[in-house]
């Protein structure tokens, strides 16, 4: 029997307590308050013969309870099991190598490889070693499973070789998540040996590393973090585009970009030059004191070109370019086949002209044609939408059919004519059963947008029979179909049973009109990818039907036609998505937090609860491991629980016995 906390044996001295209490004479019961005892001396105590142990059993029980409690506090365990089980289990070591973009600075990467090599060499033959690389994500380089299969010498060589093959990427630094994952790998590996482990972090520990996931993480006591920091004491400045261009620009105005220039705290320069690479414009000077940031207004580059904004004057090049997707303006033509004039405020055409406002990305022109006027195929071939309001000629009908089969959208607005039955509307009709899952109504599917009760229809026509494959997208509240879609070839025909002009309904003047018309326009070409400022690793939405994305280095990634996002943004630059309506460029830039290269003090990690491992000698380590094994053994045996239970039992017996004696005494005394 051994004890984990033998010092608690001093607690056994408490056994003297009950014995003393038994022997000390009992106090007189009465107590008299008196003003002052200064004239009184204590009366002599009662005769000594009265002091003797008269409740031997009770005394023994009380002492036994105290002894049991004292021994329980000493945490006893059986040693013979301990020696049998104490195999020479080594530590588990995870080497985490930072491959984020900031590691591209100077000779940081060389230093990092050297430190990783050193860490590998320090591992003992019984240690289990794994190597992971991390930036935005954590990637296994050399796993525990592989490591276990190799001899220690072989293992070292393979791991070194793998580390040599690594290169820093352009990604940001998710240090917090990487540490959590590494700890998870150590703890979950298996139950063999002790749970103790060590994470060796080889990193530049830059300020921009994201540690926030650690806030909700409880760092286990048995895992230590061994920091191997690589450092480059030169300063660095970075660029960040502040607002998406479409927010800050108006059509026709010369746009400015707002660019934030950040300068490192340990930087020695504060004057930087900004210029569009590949253009002849003058340099823009930016003064940024070390440790601060300034927002600089930069004139936009000429339309159509794909230059990038370059920063000069700092020591490190990796984050000095800011890419910007060129604005490729969509020029769309919508054909209106109908009798309405463009300036007739009571007609359909008048509202159509105003439905699509001009933006830097898109300009929509509406061409008006009479329904019976000859429609040229070339004219409508690439149009995203043809609106038909009236009876077309037979030839035009054929042209429209061909257009629809080629993927076009024909919007048929039913107008009063002898061939169409006019519905009887009591006062007004409203829309119901709206198919919000359809792309036409999908933009309005949110609960705050889907209220159509304010759009009242004074008149509508009846759509009698649905063509095969047709789908009713909305109905009036009298049950008649209001919007019907019929697929034709690759395209579709959409029928509105009522017009949007004021004589038919309130649709044109409601907030639903512009989203509906824009959705109609996008039925053919899909939604345009907004050319915003993406970051490395961001998921970029792409239009349906995009076949491939060309990367800045010239390589191309083929995409499934149904893909809606592109995930391969792994380098900064301008990417191009090949969509049905032509190439759509988008820009991807470095995570601006990578530019914050000031080194974090290790205390920051400790503030997040990370337990930094102390470099200790082998002897100390073995001693610590031995103690830990003992503690684990004691925990698994838990003899103290039985001792506490026994103490409780003894106390219960003592209470019962004392109660019985008190109860029985007066009874026996009262019998004469």
């Amino acid at each position: 029997m051994s004890f984990l906390a033998p010092l608690y044996a001093l607690g056994l001295l408490a056994v003297a307590g009950p014995i003393l209490f038994h022997l000390i004479r009992r106090r007189p019961k009465g107590e008299v308050p008196f003003s002052s005892l200064m004239f009184l001396s204590p009366s002599p105590p009662p005769p000594a013969r009265k002091r003797r142990v008269d409740q031997l059993l009770l005394l023994l029980l009380r002492s036994a309870a105290l002894v049991l409690l004292g021994v329980a506090f000493m945490r006893p365990f059986l040693r013979q099991d301990a020696t049998a089980e104490a195999g020479e289990a080594g530590q588990r070591v995870v080497i985490l190598i930072d491959t984020s973009a900031s590691m591209k600075r100077g000779d940081l990467w060389k230093q990092a490889v050297a430190k990783a090599d050193a860490a590998l060499a320090e591992c003992g033959p019984t240690d289990r070693v794994a190597v992971f690389a991390f930036d935005r994500t954590v990637r296994p380089v050399f796993g525990f499973a592989e490591s276990d299969q190799l001899e220690p010498a072989q293992r070292l060589a393979v791991a070194r070789d793998r580390v040599k093959q690594l290169t820093p990427t352009w990604n940001g630094t998710e240090l917090g998540q990487a540490l959590i994952d590494a700890v998870g790998v150590i703890l979950e590996t298996d139950a063999k040996g002790s749970r103790a482990g060590r994470v060796v972090l080889v990193s530049d520990l830059q300020q921009g590393a994201k540690l926030s996931p650690l806030t909700g993480f409880e760092w286990p006591a048995e895992v230590g973090l061994d920091l191997r920091v690589v450092a480059d004491d030169r300063g660095n400045a970075g660029l960040d585009l502040l607002v998406d261009r479409s927010d800050s620009e108006r059509p026709g105005e010369p746009g400015h970009l707002r660019v934030r220039v950040t300068n490192d705290a340990n930087s020695r320069t504060e004057k930087f030059l900004l210029a569009w690479a590949g253009t002849t414009g003058a340099d823009i000077e930016a003064y940024v004191p070390p440790g601060e940031s300034r927002v600089v207004k930069v004139a936009r580059p000429p339309v159509g070109s794909t230059p990038f904004l370059r920063l000069r004057g700092d020591d490190h090049d990796f984050d000095n370019a800011l890419y910007l997707a060129p604005i490729l303006r969509e020029e769309l033509t919508v054909v209106f086949l109908g009798a309405d004039m463009a300036d007739d405020a009571t007609g359909l055409r008048y509202f159509l002209d105003r439905a699509w406002a001009e933006t830097p990305e898109r300009k929509v022109t509406v061409i008006g044609r009479k329904p019976d006027e000859q429609l040229a195929w070339e004219e409508i071939k690439s149009a995203p939408l043809v609106v038909l309001a009236g009876e077309p000629s037979a030839e035009n009908t054929r042209t429209l059919d061909r257009y629809a089969k080629a993927g076009g959208t024909v919007l048929v607005v039913l107008t009063p004519s002898p061939a169409v039955e006019e519905a009887k509307v009591a006062r007004y009709a409203m829309l119901q059963d709206i198919a919000f899952d359809h792309p036409l109504f999908a933009p309005l599917s949110g609960p705050q947008y889907g209220d159509f009760t304010k759009v009242q229809f004074w008149k509508h026509r009846r759509i009698k029979d649905l063509q095969p494959g047709g789908r009713v997208l909305a109905r009036y509240d009298d049950g008649d179909p209001a919007v019907v879609e019929t697929p034709i070839g690759a395209g579709r025909q959409i029928v509105f049973a009522s017009g949007w002009q004021p004589s038919d309904s309130q649709l044109a003047r409601s907030s639903k009109f512009v989203p509906l018309m824009t959705a109609l326009l996008e039925l053919r070409g899909g939604r345009r990818v907004a050319a915003t400022n993406y970051r490395i690793g961001d998921r970029v939405p792409v239009a349906a039907g995009t076949t491939a994305v060309r990367k800045p280095d010239g390589s191309s990634v083929a995409l499934d036609r149904t893909a809606t996002t592109f995930d391969g943004t792994d380098q900064p630059g301008v990417y191009t998505a090949d969509t049905q309506t032509g190439p759509k460029p988008f820009a991807v830039n470095l995570d601006p937090s990578e530019s914050l290269t000031t080194q974090l003090p290790p205390e920051t990690l400790e503030q997040y609860g990370v337990k930094l491992a102390k470099r200790e000698s082998d002897e100390q380590r073995r001693e610590a491991e031995r103690q830990q094994r003992t503690a684990e053994l004691e925990r698994s045996q838990s003899i103290w629980r039985w001792l506490v239970l026994a103490a409780v039992f003894v106390l219960l017996v003592e209470t019962g016995l004392a109660g019985w004696r008190t109860w029985s005494q007066p009874k026996s005394g009262s019998a004469p």
């Binding site: 007189p28 008299v32 008196f34 002052s36 004239f39 009366s43 002599p44």
Partner: protein, 324 residues
Amino acid sequence: MPPPPPPRRTSGEAPGQAPGFIDPAALSRVKSLQLRARLVVEGFDKGIHRSPYHGFSAEFSEYRQYTPGDDPRYLDWRLFARSDRYYIKKFEDETNLRCHLIVDGSRSMGYGSAGISKWDYARTAAATVAYFLSRQRDAVGLVTFEDRVVEYIPPRARPGHLAHLMAALQREPAGKATDLAGPLDEVGAATPRRGLFVLFSDLLVQPDAVRSSVGNLRAAGHDVIVFQVLDPQEVEFDFDTPAMFRDAESGKELFIDPRTAASEYRRRFTTHAAAVRQACVGAGADFEQMTTSRPLELVLYDLLTIRSKRGRVPGRNAGAGGAR
């Protein structure tokens, strides 16, 4: 040590023997201190003439040659013009008798075996004296103390001041240990003008402490009257059963068998009482011992007797404060 003088006997010492006096225990059931005081004083008035009111303004007394350190405000410049010498004008004190009532509020004063605690008795006595003196426009102040001064109300003769004193006496003390020297020295230091100090305390402290603190007051020129308030049990100690006796101030407990301890107690107590009396008298103060069963009117009677012996009857206030 000489045997202590026998306690002064008056015709009404025991309530049973003197139906004319009010039993203190019965009086303690009257809640308002002011009412208690009025009852006592009115009972007392039945056999004494009312004192005439006296008001004094600044009255010229004498000249004294100026010595450096004197207040130059009192230089007589006219005399200087005539005689080319500096003289100080001395005035009679402006006020009537300035009386400080000092009441011990320590925890030992809370003891009471005869229906009234020593504290209650002492504060009723103080209230009575205050009421009596304020009726003749004398300035009365109050000090209650435990181990330090708890309440200090300087002597005033203005209307409403009495109610203020009564309210202060009405407050129950927190009850701590007794320290006579500190509070008395403190009060003496705060009172530059000479006056009358009336101390109500059980004086259960070392006689040396009494001697030094009373002596200090006397040395400063004050008149001091000490009333030692005791409980009859403290004097007689006629308990009968052995018990744990708890000290009211220190909380210390002792096992006492009265059958064996009583005689020793009485001997030590009597010695102490004599020593305290000797300490007071030796220092030039007047001393009276009383138990809480003694009618309160007699306190007033004692006070007047003592003052008349000294020729300074508070009722016939002839410049009691003395000259400046």
